[in-house]
């Protein structure tokens, strides 16, 4: 493999890492409050609110049921409005984040549902306010589940980022299509696949490790 190709692959890897990293951070930053809202407004939550839950849930379901390729194209005007362009890795971060936010939201909601209702009741009996319950009970108790769920979201984003590459997003997906597919260079194709697989493995390993560190509810 030539020097140029190697540089290309390194460049592509960095681009992919950037897209995945940035969109993961944004998705977690916005998906977390969304998930908490879904949970506390739900029928089992501490601030039960049907209308809020229904609206949030509906929006999340739309986001989750739209295939990523379609979503990516459909929100181009929004992407352009946010970053000023619809091409390049910065532009790719927008649809990636938009796709991952509802996913993270659901993951957070289901992690919080795992928490024993008695623990929340105990906090209430000690005079904790809803905000204190969210900060001191729900998030710390739900943390291991939130980490595992977020790991899934990041892995999904690795896959999505390759798709984003095909419409000018850059990164490994872009390289795989332009060199591996359009120029018939199977070695490049294989190299991108190997890097993507390694990336997913690394993310999963790190996620499992972090989740285990945060988890104290079983004997080790």
């Amino acid at each position: 493999m030539s020097r140029d190709l190697l540089t290309l692959l390194i460049r592509g890897t960095l681009d992919t890492l950037y897209m995945v990293g940035a969109s993961s951070l944004i998705a977690i930053a916005l998906g977390l409050p969304l998930g908490v809202t879904l949970y506390v407004a739900s029928d089992v939550g501490i601030l039960r609110n049907r209308p809020v839950y229904s609206v949030a849930s509906f929006v999340v379901n739309i986001g989750r049921s739209t295939p990523f390729v379609i979503l990516m194209i459909a929100i181009i005007p929004f992407t352009r409005w946010v970053v000023g362009t619809s091409i390049g890795i910065n532009a790719a971060v927008v649809p990636l984040s938009v796709a991952a936010i509802p996913f993270v939201g659901r993951v957070v909601e289901s992690s919080l549902r795992e928490i024993d209702a008695g623990v929340i009741e105990a906090a209430q009996s000690m005079g904790a306010s809803p905000v204190e319950i969210i900060r001191k009970v729900l998030l710390p108790e739900g943390l291991p589940g939130i980490i595992s769920g977020s790991t899934l979201a990041v892995i999904n984003l690795v896959g999505y980022s390759a798709m984003a590459g095909t419409i000018g997003g850059g990164g490994l997906g872009d390289i795989a299509v332009r060199y591996g597919y359009q120029r018939f260079m199977p070695d490049v194709m294989i190299a991108t696949v190997v890097i993507l697989v390694a990336m997913v493995q690394a993310v999963q390993l790190a996620g499992d490790k972090l989740s285990a560190l945060a988890r104290h509810d079983r004997k080790n």
Binding site: A122, H216, D217
Partner: protein
């Protein structure tokens, strides 16, 4: 003083058959007064409304009607923010402990203090102090998953007591523990009740818990208080069937099997024996009743069943005897005159395998 006055809790439930909504009374006009410093037990079978009742005290459940006063504060009328402050003065412990799994024992006990806005150094001192009171000072760095049931409940008790509450609510706190651990946790509750002078209200389905530590007891059945009074009185002269049934957990007063099929008559008949159940408590328990009647009357006494125990420090017991001989009536009269509760079960023809 804690006063529950006319508490009712009504749920709207859907009727299975007709699909119509109807009212379900989880609690119906419950009134209870608890003296300062007392340990008050509420006992009932599952589904009697105990959990709902104890949650109505700190407004985890809002009663549909009725009022709750704790040391003069009417809980039922407090707005949300002031209710949270009031709850900080009421500790609560739970059957399933409800500890935060991702906090150590220290972190769990510190939790209510953080909520109350204590400083770090004060929290540390207070947690250590209360941990040594409940006997878990060596376990502070451990997570709940590494503690035994009894240790978890001690952490729960320490957490409930950390912010110096005036009242401790116990929701079946020992029901998940083995008998030995139950005993030690109950003794701990009694110790802190005496040391700190705090009022304890507990719910349980086990008469044994009432017997071990409660001064007074209310019996709850289908959402209503059917009987309440000092523990000793409830134990020695239960009025309601449900109370007797609950008492049978701790008092073995059943007749031997050979009596099961026999017919008891309320009137004396020639050649029949008299079966009596005698309950006694306090100083009378020390009197040699049986040898008295044997010496004074021409009767034979056969003990069929007996149980002797203590309620707090008062001895009490129940004994079932079979009297035979010519002066049964005299002996009965003598027993009736004593400070005992004597109940005539009936006259019965001697079962052949008892007389020989």
């Amino acid at each position: 003083m804690i006063r529950l006055s006319g508490i009712s809790k009504v749920y709207r439930v859907k009727e299975d058959a007709s699909r119509e909504m109807r009212d379900f009374y989880a609690l119906r006009d419950v009134s209870i007064d608890v003296d300062d410093g007392a340990i008050f037990g509420i006992i009932g079978r599952s589904g009697a409304g105990k959990s709902t009742l104890i949650r109505c005290i700190n407004m985890l459940e809002r009663p549909t009607s009725g009022r709750v006063f704790i040391n003069g504060t009417e809980m039922t009328s407090l707005p949300e923010a002031r209710l949270r402050n009031a709850r900080r003065r009421i500790g609560m412990i739970f059957q399933s402990f409800n500890l935060l799994s991702n906090r150590t024992a220290f972190g769990n006990i510190a939790f209510p203090l953080e909520l109350a806005g204590w400083g770090k150094a004060d929290i540390r001192d207070r947690v250590r102090e209360i941990a040594s009171l409940v006997g878990i000072e060596g376990k502070l760095g451990q997570y709940p998953s590494t503690l035994s049931g009894g240790q978890k409940q001690r952490v729960g008790i320490a957490r409930a007591l950390a912010n110096r509450p005036e009242v401790l609510l116990s929701d079946e706190a020992t029901s998940a523990l083995d008998p030995q651990t139950t005993k030690s946790v109950l003794h701990l509750i009694r110790d802190i009740n005496e040391k700190l002078g705090l009022t304890v209200i507990l719910i349980t389905h086990e008469m044994n818990v009432i017997k071990e530590i409660c001064d007074s007891v209310a019996v709850l059945e289908s959402g209503k208080v059917v009987e309440q009074g000092p523990t000793l009185k409830i134990f020695t002269s239960p009025m309601e069937a449900v109370t007797r049934e609950l008492l049978s957990q701790v008092i073995q007063s059943e007749l031997p099997e050979s009596f099961a099929d026999l017919k008891f008559s309320k009137v004396p008949a020639r050649g029949e024996d008299l079966i009596l159940q005698i309950s006694f408590f306090g100083s009378v328990a020390a009197d040699p009743i049986i040898s008295d009647i044997v010496r004074k009357f021409d009767v034979d006494v056969n003990i069929l069943a007996a149980h002797i125990g203590h309620i707090r420090s008062t001895p009490f017991g129940t004994i079932t005897i079979q009297l035979s001989g010519d002066e049964k009536e005299g002996a009965l009269e003598f027993l009736m005159d004593m400070k005992l509760r004597t109940e005539v079960i009936g006259y019965v023809a001697r079962p052949s395998d008892i007389t020989h």
